[in-house]
């Protein structure tokens, strides 16, 4: 009997409950106008808004990954070509990171822009650790910071130790002239016995190794050469040109600093682009997963609302007849 009533009353509701309209309701997502006047339905607006914004974020992060990949390709070639530049100096003067001096200057290289994973934090952590390693009575450590991100982190606890900070390094494409002017600036304005350059060396798109390169000042080179050890056979080298050995060593130290700094800046830029690629990639993937979960929620909400409508209509119809 209820079924007969439903069939009689149901004819009035055919446009809404017929299978065609239910398919239409399912296929066209914004379908609020198919709800009959006065019936309540759960709103899917909130979930739809979230889905739209998550999809936009996914598009943006995918685009950022593509941009970072193309920038990486361009700068990786130059970084690999510059790798031969510091090797002659290390072959001649050796690598003495554990040298004991009074005035240490730590040159921290970082990026200006963010969203590049953890490389800037790694550089700052290593810089702070190097400073701790070289701390002691009548030893002082100063910072020279290249890049906005390291400045933001180091200014919090070592503000008085920062000598120079340089930003917007990559406004023009990196070249040796710019870096040598920078090196000249640093050498003129900072007193140092040893310069320690902290940067992230680029091994591959997913691997960046924090590295410390050491450049000794001419006086320290002389002292170490006399003391023997790694630089001991420096005295066996004949000096051509210049008046005194000291002058040559001075030029050598300055040239070494500019070469090592050039390679370090290029490697760090490569690491920055690589880290940004992987950060944006994982971000797109997360957005995709979030979108999947939201789609499921959306469908459940939508189906629940249709079911609610149906129940209300049917119970309304059965209330009318009964």
């Amino acid at each position: 009997m209820a079924m007969a009533t439903l069939r009689r009353e149901g004819r009035g509701f055919i446009p809404l409950i017929s299978p065609n309209s239910i398919n239409a309701a399912r296929s066209s997502i914004p379908s609020e106008d198919l709800v009959p006047q006065g019936a309540r339905s759960i709103s899917t607006q909130v979930v739809r808004n979230r889905m739209k914004s998550v999809k936009n974020i996914q598009k943006i992060t995918k685009a950022m990954k593509m941009v970072a990949a193309s920038k990486l390709r361009a700068i990786q070639v130059r970084a690999e070509n510059s790798r031969g530049l510091w090797q002659p100096f290390t072959a001649l003067l050796g690598d003495t990171p554990s040298v004991d001096v009074k005035k240490n200057v730590i040159v921290t290289i970082s990026s200006d822009k963010g969203l590049c994973g953890g490389i800037n934090s790694t550089s700052v952590k290593i810089s702070k650790a190097v400073r701790k390693l070289n701390s002691g009575p009548d030893k002082e450590t100063k910072y020279v910071i290249l890049g906005e991100k390291a400045k933001a982190q180091l200014v919090r606890d070592s503000k008085k130790d920062i000598e120079i900070s340089i930003t917007e390094l990559q406004k023009n494409p990196l070249n040796y002239t710019q870096v040598s002017v920078l090196a000249d600036d640093i050498l003129k304005n900072v007193e140092y016995d040893v310069l320690r350059i902290v940067f992230n060396k680029f091994h591959s798109v997913v691997s960046f190794v924090p590295t410390v390169a050491t450049v000794l000042s001419p006086e320290v080179v002389e002292r170490e050469a006399e003391a023997g050890g790694k630089l001991g056979d420096l005295d066996s080298y004949e000096i051509e040109g210049g008046e005194t050995k000291g002058e040559i060593l001075q030029n050598l130290a300055e040239f070494q600093f500019s070469c090592v700094l050039f390679n370090a800046v290029l490697e760090n830029a490569c690491s920055e682009q690589g880290a940004r690629m992987s950060a944006m990639d994982s971000s797109s993937r997360n957005a995709g997963e979030m979108l999947d979960r939201l789609t499921l929620t959306y469908n459940r909400t939508r189906q629940a609302s249709i079911t609610t409508e149906l129940i209300e209509i049917i119970s309304g119809a059965s209330a009318l007849e009964g």
């Binding site: 130059r78 690999e80 070509n81 510059s82 790798r83 031969g84 530049l85 510091w86 090797q87 002659p88 100096f89 290390t90 072959a91 001649l92 050796g94 690598d95 003495t96 990171p97 554990s98 952590k125 290593i126 650790a129 190097v130 701790k132 390693l133 040796y176 040598s180 902290v198 060396k201 091994h203 591959s204 190794v209 924090p210 590295t211 410390v212 390169a213 050491t214 056979d233 066996s236 080298y237 004949e238 000096i239 051509e240 040109g241 210049g242 040559i248 030029n251 050598l252 040239f255 070469c259 090592v260 050039f262």
Partner: protein, 200 residues
């Protein structure tokens, strides 16, 4: 036969593993052990950072007899022009004049002035004009030349050289401050060196 199989398999896999993926990481990374020790004592939680020594092939020791060829590494900031190339002789433009380097040359550190670097290999001579830099000649017959700019001579335009020389000579005569004088003098030096490189 099956007893040998694991050994053969292990040999095969170890040969595969010995091929490194990166283009320029050396086969035998060394590191400064005293640095790593000191680091571990003070900062145990973080791994010690690498140093350039671990990214470089160690240089061979001085051989007892003079080798037949000189190994030259000629590097510029933008590329390694010559990497471990075996040659007979190089002539480098040191500040004290042109210096010929043969295998077995005494260990030297030479500062370079603008001039021609020529590389002699058998009967071929390749000439580059270098702006300036340093040359290290090691006792084991390896020569490292680090220059800021270098161009092969056939890429230099003589007309521009003359024009540049005239410009800088004029600037030198009208220069007032020391800085301007120094810059103009450098320009004159480089252009006259270029001139003599093209003619000589």
């Amino acid at each position: 036969m099956f007893r040998q199989a694991p050994r053969l398999l292990a040999r095969a896999t170890s040969i595969m593993r010995a091929r490194s993926f990166s283009t320029d990481l050396p086969a035998a990374p060394t590191s400064d052990s005293s640095f790593v020790e000191a680091w571990k004592k003070v900062i145990p939680n973080i791994d010690a950072p690498k140093t350039p020594l671990s990214f470089m092939q160690p240089r061979p020791p001085t051989p007892p007899s003079i080798p037949g060829k000189l190994t030259v590494n000629f590097v510029l900031p933008y590329q390694s022009e010559l990497a471990a190339k075996e040659v007979d002789m190089v002539i480098i433009p040191a500040t004290t004049g042109q210096m010929g380097v043969l295998p077995g040359h005494v260990a030297t550190i030479a500062e370079l002035k603008p001039g021609i670097l020529s590389v002699h290999e058998g009967n071929d001579v390749t000439k580059y004009f270098v702006s300036s830099g340093f040359a290290f000649i090691h006792a084991n017959s390896i020569a490292d030349v680090v220059a800021v700019e270098a161009v092969p001579i056939d890429r230099i335009d003589p007309a521009l050289v003359q024009k540049g020389l005239a410009d800088f000579t004029q600037k030198l005569s009208t220069a007032s401050t020391d800085l301007e004088k120094a810059e103009a003098q450098i320009g004159v030096d480089v252009h006259s060196a270029l001139n003599s490189a093209l003619t000589g």
